[in-house]
Symmetry: C2
Subunit: 498 residues, 2 copies
């Protein structure tokens, strides 16, 4: 059985149930699981860990590391079972989020490129176990990932033992799509040799000593579909502002006609903005990103984009069916890499990316909060936005100018949590317009952000704040006693408007 999926005959004897495999987990262990933005997550064993934690009398609390977020309510079920002591580097689950914000789960919000770098250097403890979803195991025991690579390769390499979940619902034809390359442990490290998005530098499977594979579990469940919303009027306006801006940059000789490779962050706004490039005059676009969402396939299908490199493929339900039934069509135009490579500062700086990520809110000086509602409550995590924004040629942060029917302004006097500071933010864009902050001093930035990006409901309030602050002087004028007035007013009245 499973000869095509487990081609290394010696390993077929390792097939067992998810419940039996989950017995390998002990209280206090550090576990690395595959999964990046719902794609290619381990779907069976983590749920059995949750069941054990719920049903057994002994405590079972683990540190769980992943690529990014998981599907299938795995984080919810583990949280409800009390099985998570510590979680990193990203999540999007409402139940887990509440546990994090209560202080019940220690969440380490990390740049996605850094987790395995720290792990490799023994700085996050010893990885006891890796649980990796695979499309197949090769003749030599190589693990072929499914719809994400994420941190799977380094988890498998660094873990003491590995559980493989062979998912029959994932097309066997995914094999060959991956490019597994892992940097040497420092200090002896060579350059990362990617100079164009389509460069392949590694292997098609994750090679580890086969004796480390402790169990193989067979599953048959598709990835959870993405939850991004379709483009709307506002996101179309945001895309339009960006396309106009980049046309201007091309006309001024600042960018080549086909633009540098594009990165777009997780979520509705970045996805919609990228889709907007389908109606742009640009041709021969390339994508060097982390998650490949529906928008990437819009661009590939329309011929606007010639190639896409990512760490995962996360699609809506209809798109999933369509893409995976004709994956051959994309074989020469796609590559999936470890997130350490997709998000690597070296490659991002070298390629000169245009990086488009979503802001929760931005302040008048261009500092961006991506993570903390009200400055205190974790939403999802910084994800890859910091990896990209810091080293990209153009770091763009997009947001709608208001939320909750105008009761929240996404442009505020000062962000109460700073994930991306003024030094790293080149462009702020809302449906109202675009502020190009490159080479501007803070006082100039404030004028541009208020004028171009703020909603008219809030423009005068922001101008008043800035004027009063500037009267006190300073390179970056603020009134510390009023800097969070929008946020404290919202907390008191349910609206940032007076």
């Amino acid at each position: 059985m499973y000869e095509d999926r487990i081609r290394c005959a010696a390993l077929r004897g390792k097939i067992t149930s998810a419940a039996a495999a989950a017995q390998l987990v002990r209280d206090g262990m550090i576990v690395g699981a595959s999964g990046f933005t719902r794609a290619g997550d381990a779907k069976a064993v983590p749920l059995e860990i949750a069941r054990r934690a719920r049903e057994e009398n002994e405590p079972l609390r683990i540190t769980l590391m992943t690529g990014a977020s998981l599907g299938h309510d795995t984080d919810r079920l583990l949280t409800e079972a009390g099985a998570l002591a510590r979680r990193l580097p990203f999540q999007v689950d409402a139940t887990l989020r509440r546990a994090i914000n209560r202080g019940d789960v220690m969440f380490v919000d990390q740049h996605l490129s850094e987790t395995v770098e720290l792990l490799r250097a023994n700085r996050l403890g010893k990885l006891d176990l890796a649980i990796i979803e695979a499309a197949a195991i090769t003749e030599t025991g190589g693990i072929v990932p499914t719809t994400s690579v994420g941190n799977s390769a380094s988890f498998a390499i660094l873990a003491e033992r590995v559980i493989v979940e062979i998912n029959l619902a994932q097309p066997a034809a995914l094999e060959g799509l991956h490019d597994i390359w892992i940097p040497e442990r420092r200090p002896q490290r060579d350059p990362l040799p990617i100079v164009e998005p389509h460069d392949r530098i590694g292997a098609a499977a994750i090679e580890i000593p086969i004796e480390k594979i402790a169990a193989i579990v067979i599953t048959n469940t598709p990835d959870s579909a993405s939850t991004v919303l379709p483009a709307d009027h506002d996101t179309a306006l945001i895309a339009g502002h960006l396309i106009e801006f980049f046309q201007h940059e091309v006309s001024r000789g600042r960018l080549p006609k086909q633009l540098p490779p594009l990165q777009a962050g997780i979520g509705t706004i970045a996805n919609a903005v990228l889709s907007g490039f389908a109606a742009s005059p640009f041709e021969a676009l390339t994508i060097y990103s982390e998650v490949l969402q529906d928008s990437t396939f819009d661009l590939l299908d329309s011929g606007k984009a010639t190639f896409a490199s990512g760490a995962s493929i996360t699609l809506s339900a209809q798109r999933q069916e369509k893409v995976f039934s004709e994956i051959e069509r994309y074989r020469d135009r796609l590559v999936l890499r470890p997130q350490e490579v997709s998000n690597h500062p070296e490659v991002i700086r070298r390629l000169g990316l245009i990086a488009i990520n979503t802001a929760l809110e931005a302040d008048i000086y261009g500092n961006v909060n991506s993570t903390h509602v009200g400055g205190t409550h974790m939403m999802n995590g910084i994800g890859g936005s910091g990896d990209f924004a810091r080293n990209a040629a153009y770091a763009v942060f997009a947001t709608k100018s208001v939320a909750k029917d105008g009761r929240i302004s996404s442009i505020v006097p000062m962000v109460p949590h700073c994930d991306h500071n003024e030094h790293d933010v080149d462009i702020v864009v809302t449906e109202r317009g675009l502020a190009n902050l490159t080479g501007l001093a803070p006082r100039e930035r404030a004028m541009s952000v208020i004028q171009n990006c703020a909603h008219p409901l809030y423009r005068d309030l922001l101008r008043d704040y800035y004027r009063d602050a500037a009267a006190l002087g300073g390179h970056t004028p603020h009134r510390l006693d009023q800097a969070f007035s929008f946020h404290t007013r919202f907390a008191a009245t349910g609206s940032m408007l007076p």
Copy 2:
């Protein structure tokens, strides 16, 4: 005359006075001048620009870009003359600082690795003129820098016209110390091939078409001496905590015995900490930094360090005399690079640096303010600290726990300006102790920073703040109405203590 210093005979006819050369400057021009932390700055022509601005009736206001800070009161004199419309990317002058904080000079506080990247892409306007101090001009017209490379090479390459200041006070023996390598304009760019601090990848001089050299001015003035203070009891304690910590990391197999290359930021504390390594058990240290201060030569002289790579050499007056009179002794152990290379994310990540920079203040979650006094008033600028902290293996921020006899705490509830956020800060260290924040959640970070780094005078205040904030919940607990209470109290009473 000057046959040894101007070996390209065709250029000797370009020798003129500083006053005549300064006539090349027009109102509104963008000028790039050599100079990095007082080293290798253009010493004559900028002062003549200031004189013209002061004495002539016509307006003369320019954008001035440099490597980093200048010596010889150049920024003061240009500011007093009203000659600066815009200044980037760094400065340390008290008069200029006041003008920046009044909003009279637009200051663009930039990561030091990014200025010429933006300039090369036409995103900061067209560079009209470069003014570059040189030790010599070679047979082919190549410009040999002096005690800094900084941004000089790219300025000379990108500017329409170039003025060279041949400084006879700089030893001719500096020739051969520099390694001039400039990345291609994107998108066609190869890896930056440095894999060890001592790798030489470029040329000994800046090669430009000789017809671009519009004037040569002869000067004879040494660099301004550095102003760093000697190590004291507190900085020795800080160094001690760091050395103990890194010994621990070695013992846990996280670092090799000789440590990765060290970077230390500008200023007294970082310099003193680096000097402290002279008394450490570590051997065969290497430096991959931007400014090489007295401390670097302490380590080279004592045999503790085997090699130092930087963008400039900035020394105290005594040390200047000693080092430059015996520069031959250091020839094989020193290299000076463009700051784009010394501070390049690609190299910093590859080498896995230990980056030690100075914080103005840090908050309980490990966010760092490096630049803005009271959150509003510019001190110097972010300099290279962001280039290094983001991509280093160990990003260390050091500060004394209190300033002004205890009236200011350097550990605060929330920083009112964030240059380095929690994602990028691994270690906070004061004379009180060291907080290793790697892999910790914010609530754990707060405990560690308060316990290990805060001064006893402020510990209970910080604990009270954290306790009250944590009662409100959140991943990163804060009370927005109290977050700046330390700062507003200081503004009102002259002390952060109640």
